[in-house]
Every structure is written in structure tokens, then in C-alpha cells.
């Protein structure tokens, strides 16, 4: 079956079809990682077993087996009856430990390379958006930039960051750049957002600065603001990387 997981946006890969061998284990690993990394936030409901089976391209019984293991690992809870379903039970640290482990496996050089790539994509999307945004686009970007996470919903921050960058790419009118933005978000998004949150910096104004340059139709300023923003996010990641590694050093 084709991967048609529409409104999942950047989460689409979490539900993409799987290779044939060891499928229950593969389903468990894919969902388990997504939960550990915070891609699937605490309390959110998983699609029904039959939908998951369709998306992964496996039998319903395979999905059921995988969900059973996740339940044993205390990563999901399943409630029966009306309003029931399987709900994500995020690790107590919000996936921090899993993200940090992943981060220490990435070299600084690779981080720098990812930062370069993300800067190029975001910067160019912002510059094109400044040339091509119509008033409806500007209004939508302003609305997204003005969003603030509710204190009781920590998972809203990644979603708002991610959606803002995706909409910026879509405003550039480039399907290719938009797809590239999605790939980058899947690869590095959760680490970026964790590092940003831990740095304690206030980043909302940076989105607003990008939008204002886009609204003014100033491509050079929009590019510069977007690149600054991505650079600051990666500075936070590099600091976190250094701290994590030095804590592990003998």
C-alpha cells in the first residue's frame, strides 16, 4: 500500500511501510523510538490497529503483538471501550535520556554539516518566501510565530517549531524544499528542540523577525534572520553535545 499518511506531516516516516523480516519487532522498534524521542508525545492516541497495519504494510495481528510488547515496556497504555485506544506513555524524562544517547553518537563534524544543510534550506526558504508570500501567507506565518506553548503541554513546542518551518518552506512555493525540510526535521528536529529548551533562550522573537522580513518582502533580511535562528538552535545543540560528552568522560 502506498504511504498515504496525510496529515501526519513530519511524522509520516514513523508510520511508513516496513521490510518483511521480523515485522513485529520492527514495528515495536519504530514506535518505541518515536515515543522515546518525543516524536509521539505523551498522552497522544495511536491510530487504530487496523490503520497501523495498513500504514506499516503488515497484518493486524503483527501490530497487536508489537503493541503488546510496548505495553510490557510501559511505553503505551491501552484503554478499552468508548473513547478507548492505545495512548503514548512517555518516559518520565520526556525522552531526554534517549535523545542524549543519540546525540553522543553524532560527531561534532556531523553536527556542523547538519547545521550547514539546515541553514541552507531554511535560509533559502525564507528568502524565497519574502519574494513569494501573499497576504494570506504572511497572516498564517504571523499566527504561527505568535503561538506560545501552554505550560502544561510541553510537546506543543516541537510541534510549533516544526510547523513554522514547514509553513515557511511551503510559502517559498517549493515542493522540493518542503520535502527536504521534512527530512531534516525527522533527522534532527527532536534534538534541536530539546537543546533549545535546555538552553533557556527565548526563541519566539526569532520566528517573528523572520516573518517581519518576509512581510516586508526583504529576501536578504529574511535569509539572514532564518540563518541566525538555525545557527542559534545548533549552537545550543553543540553546547549540549559538549556537556553530555564531558559528563561521560572518565
Amino acid at each position: 500500500m502506498a504511504d498515504r499518511s496525510m496529515p501526519l506531516g513530519p511524522y509520516a516516516a514513523v508510520f511508513a511501510p516496513l521490510p518483511t523480516a521480523g515485522r513485529a519487532e520492527a514495528v515495536r522498534r519504530r514506535l518505541g523510538e518515536a515515543i522515546a524521542l518525543g516524536l509521539l508525545p505523551d498522552g497522544s492516541m495511536l491510530p487504530p490497529e487496523s490503520d497501523l497495519a495498513d500504514r506499516f504494510g503488515v497484518a493486524t495481528v503483527t501490530v497487536r503483538e508489537a503493541l503488546g510488547t510496548l505495553r510490557d515496556d510501559d511505553l503505551i497504555v491501552t484503554r478499552r471501550g468508548r473513547g478507548g485506544g492505545s495512548f503514548v506513555k512517555a518516559p518520565h524524562d520526556g525522552g531526554r535520556a534517549a535523545l542524549l544517547t543519540r546525540l553522543t553518537r553524532v560527531g561534532l563534524g556531523e553536527l556542523r554539516d547538519l547545521a550547514d544543510h539546515y541553514c541552507a534550506i531554511s535560509g533559502h526558504c525564507a528568502a524565497l518566501a519574502a519574494e513569494r508570500a501573499d497576504p494570506d501567507d504572511v497572516a498564517r506565518l504571523r499566527r504561527l510565530a505568535a503561538l506560545r506553548p501552554e505550560p502544561d503541554e510541553p510537546s506543543a513546542t516541537p510541534r510549533q517549531e516544526g510547523t513554522f518551518h514547514l509553513e515557511l518552506a511551503a510559502t517559498a512555493q517549493s515542493a522540493r524544499l518542503t520535502r527536504e525540510e521534512m527530512v531534516l526535521q525527522r533527522e534532527i528536529g527532536p534534538v534541536l528542540w530539546l537543546a533549545d529548551a535546555e538552553s533557556g533562550a527565548v526563541r519566539h522573537r526569532e520566528h517573528e523577525a523572520v516573518v517581519e522580513a518576509v512581510a516586508l518582502g526583504d529576501p536578504a533580511a529574511a535569509r539572514a534572520r532564518a540563518e541566525d535562528h538555525v545557527r542559534h538552535l545548533f549552537d545550543a545543540v553543540k553546547s549540549l553535545h559538549r556537556e553530555t560528552r564531558s559528563r561521560r568522560a572518565p
Partner: protein, 243 residues
């Protein structure tokens, strides 16, 4: 019999295309009237699969997606629902797939479609609407035009019916028409965004700013130093030609 085409012919082609698309939407809406008039309709009552499959499978039609999107709480067994199919070519064969949309508001990846322009505009205006060209990152992943119109059952708004047309298809076919016209032709939407252009100075996706698009669309005779405009009957599009 004249062999020279004018911008009026281009506008007529676009208009005819729109009329064909909205005719298909009338058909789909007609199929939904009976099931949605019954008390407590369910997802399985929506009998449009065959019609949508026919549209998507026919290589002569440019439809990349088709279906209906229901207003919240119209169905008894789903608060939000997209009855939607898409098609894509893979190595010469076409694959039609039902859209696996997340429709539980509590779930990850749920997106409240009632805020999106292809739903919100027909809901607010009660009129047909064309969204785009835009990057449809939720569905086709392509540069897309989405045609939608209100689905009204017993005088009540019950959602929208719609089809997606890839901008690439539209451009390829409209360019055949435009190339027979001596003057430069630029088709723009209501925001002044270029849909198709016969001159590489203006390219699909570019924005032409500072033009009296709204006045032109409402039929006012507005003289402009640089451009003349021709309306495309029934669509929020204009064919512009440099003077």
C-alpha cells in the same frame, strides 16, 4: 475559421476546464445527498468510492486526488472524516490509495482541516473555491490546485467535495493553448500568483504585486498601464497580457 488564438481563447480554455472539474464535483455531491439525508449516516454509507476511482484511474483526466471532506459531527461514527483517494504513477502503473488521514482529534498528527483554505473558504462563502497553486505538504506532496465546493444537504453545510489537480499537468496543457497566442499570456490567481505563463520572465509560483486583481475579478473596467486582463468565467483566475 481563424488559426490565431487570443487571450480570450486562453481564458475560455481555463474556464471550460473549471466547468468540467466543478461538473465532476456536482456528480460526487449528488451521490452523497441520499446517504447524508438519512438519519445518523456512517462512514460506510458514503457511496463515492467507485466514482472517485473512475476519475482517478482515467488517464485522460488530470485528477490527482478526489473525494469529500465532512463537516465535524456530520457522521455518526467519526467526528472528523476525509473520504478521499489519491493516485500516483509508479514505474508506469498508477496506484490509487485511500487517504489514511488521522481523524481523531486526540491523536498525533491530527490536523484540524476546518482551518485550511480548501475547506474554510467554501464554508465561509458558500461558493466554489480554488486553492493554490500551493505546496500541498499534507496530501499530494506536490505543487497543487485544489478545487472545492460546499456540500449542502437539506440546506445545511455538510462539508466539501473536491479534487486535486497537479500544477505540472495544468501548466503542460495550458501552455499548448498559450503557445498559439502571439501575445504573452500569464494566468494568475486571485492573489496575483502565477499559475502558468508563456513568458519565462514570470514563472509559476511568482507573485505579481500591485495589480488591481480584485477589481478585475469583480468585472470592473480598470485600465492599467502595463497589463490588460481577461476574466476566466466561473474561476478566480485572470489571463494577463502585457500592453
Amino acid at each position: 475559421m481563424t488559426t490565431t488564438m487570443t487571450d480570450t481563447d486562453v481564458a475560455r480554455w481555463v474556464s471550460d476546464f473549471g466547468q468540467w472539474v466543478f461538473g465532476q464535483l456536482d456528480d460526487i455531491a449528488g451521490l452523497l445527498e441520499a446517504p447524508l439525508s438519512a438519519p445518523a449516516p456512517r462512514r460506510s454509507d458514503l457511496a463515492i468510492e467507485q466514482r472517485c476511482h473512475e476519475l482517478l484511474a482515467d488517464p485522460q483526466t488530470p485528477v490527482a486526488g478526489a473525494g469529500a471532506v465532512l463537516a465535524p459531527d456530520v457522521l455518526a461514527d467519526a467526528p472528523y472524516w476525509l473520504e478521499w483517494w489519491t493516485v500516483e504513477s509508479r514505474g508506469g502503473t498508477t496506484v490509487i490509495a485511500k487517504l489514511a488521514a488521522e481523524t481523531d482529534p486526540r491523536a498525533v498528527g491530527f490536523r484540524d482541516y476546518t482551518e485550511l483554505p480548501w475547506y474554510a473558504k467554501p464554508f465561509e462563502s458558500g461558493q466554489r473555491h480554488v486553492t493554490g497553486p500551493y505546496v500541498d505538504y499534507l496530501c499530494t506532496d506536490q505543487y497543487t490546485l485544489t478545487f472545492t465546493q460546499p456540500l449542502v444537504v437539506d440546506g445545511t453545510f455538510a462539508g466539501v467535495v473536491g479534487v486535486d489537480v497537479l500544477v505540472a499537468w495544468f501548466e503542460e496543457h495550458l501552455l499548448d493553448v498559450m503557445e498559439a497566442v502571439e501575445r504573452t499570456c500569464v494566468l494568475v490567481n486571485a492573489a496575483g500568483r502565477v499559475v502558468t505563463s508563456s513568458d519565462p520572465t514570470w514563472v509559476t509560483g511568482d507573485l505579481l504585486r500591485g495589480l488591481p486583481i480584485e477589481a478585475w475579478l469583480s468585472g470592473d473596467e480598470v485600465d492599467h498601464a502595463a497589463w490588460s486582463a481577461t476574466r476566466c468565467e466561473g474561476l478566480p483566475f485572470l489571463v494577463l497580457s502585457p500592453r
